[in-house]
């Protein structure tokens, strides 16, 4: 190793202290709760329990339906997203940047907002006049809306970086556009397509907010929803833990597929080049492939905005929703928009801060102290569903349940991977010689971290922290399990309103959803100006 890559004589370097801090954090808040879930799920006789789990007709039906729903969602999402991804990677055209930004919206949108948007579009009294509530169609539509951006970004981004030059090569070898797509583009994109599909599958398999809002009848309950119902309504923690265990196994398997393929899809191919403008036929093809996803993305948002001021049954514009949303808390046991916003901001601030510190410490340990296992471990919170995490907290740390820090720490845990992923590339990009230069000039390890590393990390840090804040703002599952009424965040408040009868509550829910959307959009816009998110 080069001198300076690792300077000698350092006992408790920033990297090692960071590693200890991050390990402790992950162990206490992730591993202990997960072990608690698994232990509770398996019970005193693990073998017998496993056999029971495998044969229990109720569990099998739930698992089967969840798998069916997730598979259908994934196939549809890829079918809608892939043509768009190919078009993005094939041409440059006016409005591409705007469209790309539009396609990112669902990506960062809280699931509760997406649910509310589709409710306003296709629920009872929906803007389109068709009620699809409790149908598989509506669940699938919402999942496609929510996830097609994953396919467009992962596959499109991969192809854009690789395919233009390879397509040129294919053309000079005699392959026309269709043959090139079949023989070059699609085989090339296969790992990226499968990786995106695996990710979408995990998201749909553990779908929570969307199902709870769009199919409250229970016909399409995922395991995740069933876990919540077992905890919240029936207080059957054994069943909940068993379900969580089942879900964990499937999600981890799909997550493993994703990680393996993602590594292959990330191989730099060095075939990037300028993209051509589409010809006349290309323009038609472009419009045909991009119009459906664009429409699907915009429609629920428009419906949300319209229905918030024109509730079903109202003649013309009505402000009842806005008045109800901002009425003081406590009336009829609902939380006001003011309190919910304040709570959301408090949780986002506290968890964002913790996530930033822990995420940075973790990145330091990986890069500077070479604690490689933390690199993989840092992704674990992403693979753990929110309700499972909530359940784990409930089982492992009952004293934290219903407290501010209980939920704040859960949110911090979920936000940590985003910070780590954003900081890692910047930290890796600092040449070892720079640290060595500072050392020779008299700076110790801590001074080097402060004066040399930190300035270079700021853009990545801002990006990661912003992402962590956005995730906390929209988080629903853990909040539902761990919160109590006085601590209700915006997503909780939306769900609360939707569970109550009357046009007033319905409109208030949509107003709250708009508010949450605006808050998230503001964070993302701020991020876009201050620095980009990193590796994710």
């Amino acid at each position: 190793m080069l001198p300076g890559a690792r300077l000698v004589g350092v006992r408790l370097s920033p990297g090692r202290l960071g590693g200890l801090l991050a390990s402790l954090f992950l162990a206490l808040l992730l591993i202990v709760p997960l072990v608690a879930v698994v232990a509770r799920g398996l019970g005193a006789e693990p073998l017998a329990t496993a056999r029971e789990l495998a044969t229990d007709p109720f569990l099998r039906e739930r698992l089967g339906l969840t798998l069916l729903q997730a598979t259908l969602s994934t196939v549809l999402t890829v079918a809608i997203g892939l043509p768009g991804a190919l078009a993005f990677a094939r041409w440059s055209f006016p409005g591409k940047r705007i469209l790309r930004a539009l396609f990112t919206v669902p990506f960062v949108m809280p699931s509760v907002v997406a649910g509310a948007g589709f409710l306003a579009l296709l629920g009872p009294g929906g803007a389109l006049g068709v009620d699809l509530m409790d149908t598989l169609t509506l669940v699938l539509l919402a999942h496609v809306f929510y996830n097609h951006a994953v396919v467009v970004r992962m596959v499109g981004g991969f192809l854009e970086s690789a395919a233009p030059r390879l397509r040129d090569a294919a053309a000079t070898l005699g392959a026309g556009p269709l043959r090139t797509t079949l023989r070059v583009t699609l085989p090339l994109a296969a790992p990226a397509i499968l990786a995106a599909a695996a990710l979408v599958f995990v998201f749909c398999f553990t779908s929570f907010g969307v199902i709870l809002i769009l199919a409250p009848g229970g016909a399409w309950d995922t395991l995740e929803v069933e876990i919540y119902r077992s905890v919240a309504r029936l207080l059957r923690l054994d069943t909940a833990a068993a379900l969580a265990l089942l879900q964990l196994v499937v999600a981890m398997a799909a997550g493993g597929v994703y990680t393996a393929l993602q590594a292959r899809a990330a191989v730099p191919l060095g075939g990037a080049g300028p993209l051509p403008r589409p010809g006349r036929g290309g323009r038609w093809l472009l419009a045909l492939t991009l119009a459906p996803p664009a429409l699907l993305t915009a429609a629920p948002l428009v419906a949300l905005a319209i229905r918030s001021v024109v509730p079903p049954g109202a003649e013309g514009i009505s402000w009842i929703g806005w008045r109800a949303a901002f009425a003081p808390s406590g009336l009829l046991g609902v939380v006001s928009a003011w309190d919910a916003t304040w709570n959301s901001l408090r949780f986002a601030g506290a968890s964002g801060l913790v996530a930033t510190v822990v995420g940075t410490a973790l990145a330091y340990a990986v890069v500077r102290a070479d604690w490689r296992f933390l690199d993989r471990a840092s992704l674990l919170p992403l693979a753990t569903s929110a309700v499972t995490l909530g359940l784990g907290f409930l089982l492992a740390w009952p004293a934290l349940t219903g407290t501010f820090w209980g939920l704040a720490l859960a949110h911090a845990l979920i936000g940590t991977p985003f910070v780590t992923r954003a900081v890692l590339p910047s930290l890796r990009g600092i040449p070892p010689s720079r640290s060595a230069a500072a050392a020779v000039l008299g700076a110790g390890p801590w001074r080097r971290a402060l004066r040399v590393d930190l300035p270079a990390l700021v853009p990545g840090l801002i990006g990661g922290a912003g992402f962590a804040v956005a995730v906390s703002l929209g988080e629903f599952g853990a909040a539902l399990v761990l919160s109590r009424p006085e601590l209700a965040t915006l997503p909780i408040a939306i769900y609360q309103r939707l569970g109550r009868p009357g046009a007033e509550n319905y409109a208030a829910a949509l107003v709250l959803a708009l508010l949450l959307m605006a808050l998230t959009a503001m964070i993302m816009a701020l991020l876009d100006r201050l620095g980009g998110p990193g590796e994710i």
Binding site: T172, L173, G176, P187
Partner: protein
């Protein structure tokens, strides 16, 4: 190998305000290899892409053997191309990369296998058939790219800086190899390069591009003998240029090139003062000034040509023949 005549007239390609290719007229006679030489950003790669059909020209026309190429897509032009980054297909083995174009042209399996074997043999790639491109060295990748382009027997081979991605030693080695190979296979080619040595080694004729235009075209000898502008002279490494104002005082009509390589020691020669001396390889380079002409030049000599190694402050007499002066740009 088939031979084609390529004829470009008034070809232009613009990107917004940037005129990458700005009205190029060029004729490549059948069987002749041409190098497009120029600094980076001069538009030579763009011109090559226009010839390949990868970019449409904004103006002008291309003819191949008299046939107008406008509207003919690249897959029907019958040209082969070696890309700067090789653009090998990472999802295909070496063998399948080379066979790619043969499949498109409907060759049978047996014909394909035979042709691929033949090319891999010529290129010294036998035994690597099943490797993926990522698992090959830079030099091997370059040869695969060449084999892939040559496999369908294109009428014309286009090479876009095929050696620029390699390190210096390998580049010199492969340059000789490539020249030999293309000669052996009797392939008509157009090379794009920014490297003068590469252009001179690989092509019969060289067209020098600058700011989207062809500034001079000819054989390597013609270019070096008679550069048509100060820019050309500087680009070719002829560095002792006398600006117009100073040249006029010496009696020349405009910017003048002094060919220092034609200066020879001579007891009756012109007097120069030695400023500095240093070694360049086996030669000595002397920084000289001429008090009479007010000129500073650098002159290289074999140590044996000089009676004793000169030192700063010495004077040295050199004969400056009349043909050492070339007036490049006549003013007014």
């Amino acid at each position: 190998m088939p031979r084609v005549a390529l004829e470009l007239s008034g070809v232009a390609r613009h990107y917004g305000e940037v005129r990458a290719v700005d009205g190029v007229d060029l004729v490549v006679p059948p069987g002749r290899t041409l190098a497009l030489l120029g600094p980076s950003g001069c538009g030579k790669s763009t011109l090559l892409r226009v010839v390949a059909g990868l970019e449409p020209p904004d103006a002008g026309s291309l003819r191949m053997d008299g046939r107008d190429l406008s509207g003919v897509p690249p897959q029907r032009r019958g040209v082969g191309m070696v890309f700067q980054d090789y653009a090998l297909f990472p999802h295909l083995s070496l063998k399948d990369n080379v066979a790619f174009g043969l499949v498109e042209r409907g060759w049978s399996r047996n014909e394909r296998e035979a042709r691929v074997r033949e090319l891999l043999d010529v290129m010294g790639l036998t035994g690597l058939e099943r490797r993926r491109p990522q698992a090959l060295s830079g030099g091997q990748q370059q040869r695969v790219a060449l084999a892939r382009a040559l496999a369908p027997r294109p009428a014309l081979l286009l090479l876009d800086e095929p050696l620029s991605n390699l390190d210096r030693t390998l580049r010199d080695e492969l340059m000789d190899e490539l020249a030999e190979l293309l000669g052996e296979l009797d392939v008509q080619a157009i090379h794009v390069t920014h490297d003068q040595n590469e252009a001179f080694a690989l092509a019969d004729r060289v067209a020098v591009m600058h700011d989207g235009r062809i500034v001079q075209e000819g054989t390597p000898d013609e270019l070096v003998e008679a550069p048509r502008s100060a820019w050309m002279a500087r680009f070719l490494g002829l560095r002792e240029l006398i600006p117009a104002g100073q040249a006029k005082e010496l009696g020349f009509a405009g910017t003048t090139l002094l060919r220092v390589e034609r200066l020879r020691p001579d007891p009756d020669g012109h007097v120069f003062e030695v400023q500095r001396v240093h070694r360049v390889g086996t030669d000595l380079e002397l920084a000289l000034t001429s008090p009479q002409w007010g000129l500073s030049v650098r002159w290289q000599a074999r140590p044996r040509e000089l009676r004793e190694p000169p030192e700063p402050g010495d004077t040295i007499r050199l004969r400056v023949p009349d043909d050492a002066w070339t007036v490049l740009e006549v003013e007014g």
